[in-house]
Amino acid sequence: MIYEVFRQERKGQPFQHAGSLEAANHDFAESYAKEFYGRRGESQALWVVPREAIIEVEDFVDELNRNYHRVDGYSLKDKLRRARERAGSALVARDR
């Protein structure tokens, strides 16, 4: 069986993909992973996951073009310029 190995370098850091290994069962997978990715104390922890247990999601279709929950849905530059212009004239009017 193929296993994917993710390693955490230091406590608190995210686990990152390190590589894969082939092992006959979970016990062998655990011991191979230790030898491959933890022999010199370079890992704080490892996640050893059967490849087939990983659900891969790659397509993200935005059918309704919901830009209101993304930064590109908000273009403030022009509105801000106009608002400043308006405020500027208001300011002049009050000072008079």
Binding site: A18, G19, S20, F36
Partner: protein, 297 residues
């Protein structure tokens, strides 16, 4: 995506994962390149293995054993990458043992003295790490990722090699002579190591961005990094033409490319002995593999 778009993708720094579409020609080039790397790690332990029992101290014996373990570990990781590309490890080993697949030139030569062990770990590993660092940006991402670990471990090997060499150079005249003889023996294979100076835009491995530098670039980097280190110890490099020009480019005697071709096609001084050993080891350890698989089933 078509082949042209894929080429543009990798040439502009894009990377590819195992499950992504890739042109057949790219896949074939990847397998060939990575498989040879795996073979070299596996065959590369044999010249050093010969010295485990003859290492001068317990500390050296342990360090050498650890280096051998590292290199075999690298070959396991690398064959795993080849396997995901479609060629099973068993088939890689079959092709290696039958002489169909190649491994690096430097592993076809004998190790005559403890001086060779130091020079291999220092200079051969230095030459190798230059090639391997150029794979950290490989367009095939799974290979680039395992290369991080491999380069990290290789840096210990260089330290180990320098330590062996410096200890000998601080020893008796006879000991420093061992180092000089080894440098003299290894110089030609080292100069051939990075391959012929093919232009990088004509090198398919560069075109597909499997590696990120040309052969001559790698050799110049090796010379620039290590010739001064060799000279400062009072060692001589056996090439009267070797010098650094004003423009920073190293000049050297043209390496013997026929010798390189002949050695890597299995005609080196130790090619057949080492393949025989690998063949015997595979046969005699077959029962271990079958027991493990049975137990696990």
């Amino acid at each position: 995506m078509n082949e042209q778009q894929f080429l543009e993708h990798v040439q502009s720094g894009g990377q590819v994962e195992t499950t992504d579409w890739m042109p057949d020609v790219y896949r074939a080039k990847l397998i060939k390149f990575i498989e040879m790397h795996g073979n070299s790690e596996l065959m590369g332990v044999l010249p050093e293995r010969e010295w485990i029992l003859r290492a001068p101290t317990l500390q050296r014996k342990l360090a050498l054993t650890a280096k051998v373990q590292d290199e075999v570990g690298h070959s396991q990781l690398i064959y795993r990458v080849v396997e995901d590309l479609g060629k099973p490890r068993e088939q890689c080993l079959d092709d290696l043992i039958s002489g169909k697949a190649k491994f690096h030139n430097v592993f076809h030569y004998p190790t005559k003295t403890w001086g060779d062990v130091g020079v291999i770990a220092w200079l051969v590993d230095a030459a190798a790490i230059i090639s391997q660092k150029a794979l950290l940006k490989c367009s095939y991402a799974p290979y680039a990722r395992i290369m991080k670990k491999i380069c990290w471990e290789e840096s210990f090997h260089i330290l180990h090699g320098r330590d062996v060499v410096l200890t000998l150079m601080n020893g008796t005249d006879e000991q420093s002579e061992l180092v000089q003889e080894a440098v003299t023996r290894w110089w030609r294979p080292l100069m051939q190591f990075h391959g012929n100076p093919i232009r990088k835009d004509e090198d398919p491995m560069y075109v597909w961005r499997i590696k990120s530098q040309g052969n001559e670039e790698a050799r110049q980097q090796f010379l620039d990094g290590y010739v001064p280190q060799i000279w400062e110890l009072g060692l001589t490099v056996p090439d009267p033409k070797l010098r650094k020009n004003d423009d920073g480019v190293w000049e050297y005697t043209e390496p013997d490319w026929d010798e390189l071709r002949s050695v890597v096609t299995g005609h080196g001084p130790r090619s057949q002995d080492r393949l025989d050993l690998r063949r015997r080891a595979r046969e005699s350890s077959a029962w271990v593999r079958s027991v493990v698989l049975e137990q696990a089933a």
